[in-house]
């Protein structure tokens, strides 16, 4: 007979391929001779397997356990995955910084590419190429890097074409308790300002937290040394607190008790929605400074790899219509998350069901996606992609057959030789037949800045992720289908009418000449 083990593995592999989301927490218990394995997946699904036979069950359980807690990155699925599709466009080379810079340099010459970090020696978590003010040479950058936490000196994050204002990001300055200053840092930061203009520093920590950071050698920009800048503190929580929040939220969502008060109080106690509101508010503030106040902005927290990126990337979604297209959003993720050094491997290791405390685990990226979803929910016609796209990205960030989200920064990725050894997620996503699933039928390009509401009444729980496995989606799917049908039919009609019109016009211009001349002469008379 076929051993259960291989049965299950077959089942597992089919799962991996199909859903590309995966497991990895299991617990087993026994009732008589039937063993039960409960698999808690990273995409928040919970699967229960009832397996007859004690031994088989234990075997399977230990196999899953082993497979789900691999020590080495190179043993992970992306290194074994063989794509079943033809690669049209290689995702690894789809978003090169040089290409992005070309676009920028067509509007302004105030910026340059710096290869100072090409061997990752100045800043291990930065990419080899960064964009800095043209007036600042590499020598200065080197000095600034020493003054900033982890060497993350201020670099360009976004250039607002409308008014030439910019958003920079960095890590905290290392002022320490004695208020150390760095003239080069001041020079670099000021180089981004237009003459006579002021700028904002958005510190993603509370003033209190920022002050405490000084004891550990960190700190914030002091008014005396940065007189042209005004500092605003917005409190965005740090990773371990966010992870606890996610765990609580998911627990609340899985609670099947019928008590409304309990649900609401658990939802409240998880604080998830509070964090969504905080992050969105900070991003809106940054966008407001740039677009409405016409001021440049520098964003940083402590390391500049988490809350900083949430703020800079969300602000771009608000400001820049390109970021609301599929390609543009992918490019944003590459620039502001992957290249900017968000430590995906540390943050997205175990997801909500981890039983061991993971020190660096945190749903920073999921929070970002949730915020994007909130904006999408408020501007359903302004995004080229749909909710499904965001959910897919969430899944792949935690478990994927593609190498895109492996490693913590570009440095690690290049050491792992991901480009050579694994597939890029974008190679798969950007195939026309896959793209279809991610497209929002309501999309109509909208070149305006979109200001979301951050009132609690306007923010909702992201059901597509958190309630996905707890409620049937049939009726909502049908609504989606119906919507698509209505819009597609209209497009079809419009095309039809237009082509018929064209046909009429063509014949018209041929044999209607004389008549038109008549009309003209009549008008002249």
């Amino acid at each position: 007979t076929l051993p259960f083990n291989s049965h299950l593995l077959l089942f597992l592999t089919s799962f991996l391929a199909a859903a590309s989301s995966s497991f990895f927490m299991s617990c087993s218990r026994f009732l008589g001779s039937v063993g039960t394995i409960i698999i808690k997946c990273k995409d928040l699904r919970i699967i229960q397997l009832d397996i007859p036979g004690m031994e088989e069950c234990l075997n399977i359980a230990s196999s899953i356990e082993a497979l789900s807690t691999l020590d080495s990155v190179t043993l992970m699925y992306p290194f074994f995955y063989r794509p079943m599709f033809e690669i049209v466009e290689d995702g690894w080379s789809a978003f090169l910084p040089e290409k992005e810079f070309e676009v920028l340099s067509s509007v302004t010459d105030e910026w340059r590419l710096s290869y100072i970090n090409k061997d990752f020696s100045i800043c291990p978590s930065y990419p080899p190429v960064v964009i800095v003010p043209r007036s600042i040479d590499d020598e200065t950058l080197q000095k600034v890097a020493v003054y900033r936490h982890g060497g993350r000196f201020p670099v360009l994050s976004y250039y607002h074409k409308k008014n030439g204002m910019v958003m920079m990001r960095s890590s905290q300055p290392l002022t320490g308790t004695n208020g150390r200053r760095c003239k080069e840092d001041e020079k670099l930061v000021n180089a981004t300002l237009r003459p006579g203009k002021r700028g904002y520093i958005i510190d993603t920590r509370s003033l209190n937290a920022a002050q405490q950071a000084r004891a550990k050698g960190g700190g914030f920009e002091q008014e005396v040394y940065y007189p042209q800048w005004r500092r605003i503190h917005r409190c965005i929580e740090r990773f371990n607190i966010l992870q606890e929040s996610l765990i609580k939220l998911v627990e609340a969502c899985n609670d099947q008790s019928h008590n409304m008060d309990r649900w609401l109080s658990k939802l409240e106690a998880s604080n998830w929605m509070t964090y969504i509101k905080e992050i969105l508010t900070a991003a809106c503030l940054a966008a407001q400074c740039i677009d409405r106040e016409g001021a440049s902005v520098l964003v940083h927290g402590t390391e500049g790899t988490d809350s900083t990126l949430q703020v800079t990337s969300l602000a771009q979604i608000i400001l820049d219509p390109d970021c609301r297209t599929i390609q543009g959003f992918e490019s944003l993720l590459v620039r502001e998350w992957l290249q900017a050094g968000h430590p995906f491997q540390q943050r997205c290791a175990q997801s909500a069901y981890s039983n061991s405390k993971q020190k660096f685990e945190a749903p920073v990226f999921l929070l970002f996606l949730d915020c994007v979803w909130q904006i999408l929910h408020q501007f359903p016609c302004s995004f080229e992609f749909n909710e499904h796209f965001l959910v897919t990205l969430f899944e792949h960030a935690y478990a994927s057959q593609f190498g895109t989200f492996l490693g913590n920064n570009e440095n690690e990725r290049s050491k792992l030789k991901l480009q050579q050894k694994t597939m890029s997620l974008w190679s798969w996503v950007n195939q026309p037949e896959e793209l279809k699933n991610f497209q929002n039928p309501l999309f109509e390009a909208n070149s305006l800045v979109i200001w979301p509401s951050v009132a609690p009444q306007s923010l909702q729980l992201w059901e597509g992720v958190f309630l996905r496995w707890n409620r049937p989606s049939r009726f909502l799917d049908e609504a989606e289908e119906e919507m698509r049908r209505i819009i597609d039919y209209n497009r079809f009609l419009l095309d039809k009418v237009n082509s018929m019109r064209k046909q009429i016009m063509q014949t018209e211009t041929e044999d209607g000449m004389d008549r038109m001349q008549e009309v003209d002469s009549a008008a002249n008379v």
């Binding site: 008590n259 008060d261 106040e293 305006l448 009444q457 909702q460 409620r471 009726f475 009418v497």
Partner: protein, 732 residues
């Protein structure tokens, strides 16, 4: 006014007409479109060419004779009051349907200038303008905005008027409306404020039913049409649809003189097996004579939903006829050996009622009943719950945690869930267990109405259509004596009788729409519209407390029915995703707590800033309209193609208009107060002049961008147009 007088009566009326039209357009603008553009109101507005629009504005502006009208003492002035009562003679008195409410003749328009309207949530500069009091509405015209903005409040919609302590800016007047609109005015003079206050108190709480808007509302409809309107909904037809009369059920006129029950309609449906004596006997044993009658018959298996009030059982009383009555109901469903008796009250409340000689059915006294409590709280709990909910909604920039805690503490969603749970229980009993259900609460006109109507809605797709939903409300709410007048506080009366029972029903329907987006023929606006009119007293349907009272008020002779007016607006009230009558049968909603959402569109309906800035519903509705036009176009073109008879300029511009309508998604929304304080740079950096310059540039940029976007979006249409143009230049 003087100018008007000199023109003579006709021109006065003519001008009023114009004003009416103009204002009604503006009204749309105000209602849907405070400063956001992505709404129907705006689409309608922008359908006018800019020049027309300007003309509109001009024609409206001088019509408010701001310099000619002195503020007349409203409360004390007898002429003013007389004018207020004298609405029936004024020709235009409807704003919901595109006409103007009676503006009092100019010297009687009461107005206050230099009134500020505060924004509820942000610290943005308050608007400043003029407050007008008409016979039916309070109108605020914002003079400071570039685009003329008006806020209209129907007097009947006003729930409370509060005068707040005097501030340096003036005397604040806070108005809460029954449709959850909150307006915070600041009036310069204390004396003015007080007079507006006392006038509004009088106007918003009429003492006599004859003072209600419905009795003066005159939409210029012929008598015949008005009567036809009242006949639109015929409950007998609905019973026929259920197959009644049949072997088990009959429609009886036992109550034709309201002898059985004064709050029931003259015709009721009872089991054929129940004799007159049984019915009369049972009525003596039921609170207020509200005997068990049929609410809905599920034709497939003969299981019925019946409703009544609590029995007068006390601790031990019995009534043979009542027991026979229940037996007759049970036996009318031969497929089931038992029936449910559902008491929708919490057990404790029901037990407390026994001390007053009321109570609930003793399972031992009735054959084969299964008795069950479903704890839905009473009207007082519900009223307080809504009060708390509204406080939460009104909180100025609450934190997420404040909001969620407030939502929880209000208990509102818990109550909604309780109503839904009860309805699901009923629907399941009928469909899955094939058992009949008898439902009651205390008097059987609040919770019972909610639960019975929702269960019918779950079971029968007909009730999810326009017509069906109207029938449902007429049947379960209006005919069966839900005390709208008391619950909605139409007249000056006991505030303890007011309760949002009907609002809860409407919300439950909305919650169902969220779970089943393709199953309802109508959309959210339809629900809101009905909810508005339950309070507006503009139509007769919801006046009074029961059928008898409505007859006494002569509402069928003197007022209009709401339903024909709603049907006229079917195009904008329909659900584009509706998959038709046969697509779904019974609904089985998920009632886990997370399936219920806070309904921002209802309780924060007038805070447009909180709503999604682009509305999928509106977008799809415009698609549906576009579809019809395109289809016409296509067939017309198909006919023309073989003949080719010359250019079709009218059609060309028609087509481009269609394209524009579909692309009207511009949204110049403004950033909110993200920091909780006014922008900082402005205060310590850029001067105001600078800011203006940048904003001008911004505006231009935006326009350019917008144009470009339109081009991009309509390229298919525009290509055509430009082709058409390209074709011609050679001849010029």
């Amino acid at each position: 006014m003087w100018a008007l007088q000199s023109k003579g009566k006709n021109s006065w009326i003519e001008e009023r007409k114009q004003l009416g039209r103009a204002l009604s357009h503006k009204q749309c603008h105000v209602q849907y479109n405070h400063h956001l553009e992505f709404s129907r109101g705006c689409q309608r507005l922008t359908n006018h060419r800019p020049r027309q629009l300007a003309r509109l504005q001009r024609s409206v502006l001088p019509a408010y004779p701001s310099e000619r009208v002195e503020y007349t003492q409203l409360a004390g002035n007898p002429t003013a009051n007389a004018a207020i009562a004298d609405v029936s003679t004024t020709p235009f008195s409807c704003f919901y349907h595109g006409k103007l409410p009676a503006l009092l003749p100019a010297q009687k328009i009461s107005s206050v200038e230099n009134v500020k309207l505060l924004d509820r949530y942000t610290n943005r500069r308050a608007a400043s303008g003029t407050l007008y009091l008409t016979a039916t509405h309070l109108i605020y015209v914002d003079a400071s905005a570039e685009v003329r903005k008006e806020t209209w409040i129907l007097h009947h919609h006003i729930a409370t008027v509060e005068k707040l302590p005097l501030t340096t800016a003036g005397c604040p007047l806070l108005i809460h409306c029954k449709n959850f609109h909150v307006a915070h005015f600041v009036i310069g003079q204390e004396r003015d404020c007080h007079e507006v206050y006392t006038s509004l108190l009088k106007l918003s709480q009429p003492v006599k039913p004859e003072e209600l808007y419905a009795f003066s509302y005159n939409p210029k409809m012929s008598k015949d049409n008005r009567e036809i309107g009242w006949k639109l909904i015929d409950l007998k037809v609905d019973y026929q649809r259920m197959g009644i009369p049949n072997d088990y059920w009959e429609i009886t006129d036992l109550n034709k003189d309201y002898e059985v029950c004064s709050t029931y309609p003259p015709e009721i449906v009872v089991p054929r097996a129940a004799s007159k004596a049984t019915v009369i006997g049972s009525s003596r044993f039921r609170s207020r004579g509200r005997i068990p009658v049929l609410s809905y018959l599920y034709k497939e298996n003969n299981a019925a939903i019946c409703r009544c009030s609590q029995p007068l059982s006390g601790f031990s009383a019995r009534c043979l006829e009542d027991e026979q009555m229940l037996q007759a109901i049970r036996e009318a469903n031969p497929g089931s050996p038992f029936m449910y008796v559902v008491d929708t009250r919490p057990k404790l409340n029901a037990m407390a009622n026994r001390a007053a000689g009321k109570g609930y059915e003793n399972e031992d006294n009735y054959d084969n009943i299964r008795f069950k409590f479903i704890g839905i709280e009473n009207i007082h709990v519900m009223r307080n719950s809504l009060q708390k909910l509204l406080e939460v909604c009104e909180t100025k920039s609450p934190s997420m945690s404040d909001f969620l805690t407030g939502l929880e503490n209000s208990g509102w969603l818990r109550h909604i869930k309780a109503v839904m749970d009860a309805s699901v229980f009923l629907a399941k009993a009928v469909k899955d267990e094939k058992a009949s259900v008898l439902v009651h609460c205390s008097d059987g006109w609040d919770r019972t109405a909610q639960v019975c109507s929702l269960a019918s809605l779950l079971l029968d797709p007909f009730y999810r259509t326009f017509k069906g939903f109207m029938v449902l409300i007429e049947k379960e709410w209006i005919a069966m004596g839900h005390k709208f007048s008391h619950r909605c506080g139409h007249l000056d009366g006991d505030p303890k009788e007011v309760s949002p029972v009907f609002t809860q029903f409407i919300e439950c329907v909305w919650q169902l729409m969220q779970q089943f987006p393709c199953t309802f023929e109508f959309n959210e606006h339809f629900l809101l519209e009905i909810h508005d009119h339950v309070y507006s007293c503009q139509f007769g349907n919801f006046l009074g407390t029961c059928h008898k009272e409505r007859e006494d008020l002569k509402i069928f002779e003197k007022t209009h029915s709401l339903w024909p007016f709603l049907l006229q607006k079917k195009q904008e009230l329909r659900n584009p995703l509706y998959r038709g009558f046969t697509a779904y049968k019974e609904l089985q909603p998920n009632t886990l707590p997370f399936s219920f959402q806070f309904w921002c569109g209802m309780y924060n309906r007038f805070d447009k800033g909180m709503h999604p800035k682009q509305c999928v519903l509106d977008h799809l509705l415009s698609c549906m309209n576009q579809k019809i036009k395109l289809e016409d176009n296509a067939s017309e073109l198909e006919n023309k193609l073989p003949f080719l008879d010359g250019p079709l300029p009218s059609e060309a511009c028609y087509l481009s208009k269609v394209g524009c309508a579909a692309s009207k998604t511009s949204m110049l929304n403004t950033p909110q107060d993200y920091q909780g304080e006014p922008p900082a740079v402005l205060s310590n950096g850029i001067s105001v002049g600078d800011a203006n310059v940048t904003s001008d540039v911004e505006q231009k940029n935006k326009e350019n961008l917008a144009n470009r976007r339109d081009l991009h979006r309509n390229d298919s249409v525009d290509v055509l147009n430009s082709e058409a143009k390209d074709g011609k230049p050679q001849h010029h």
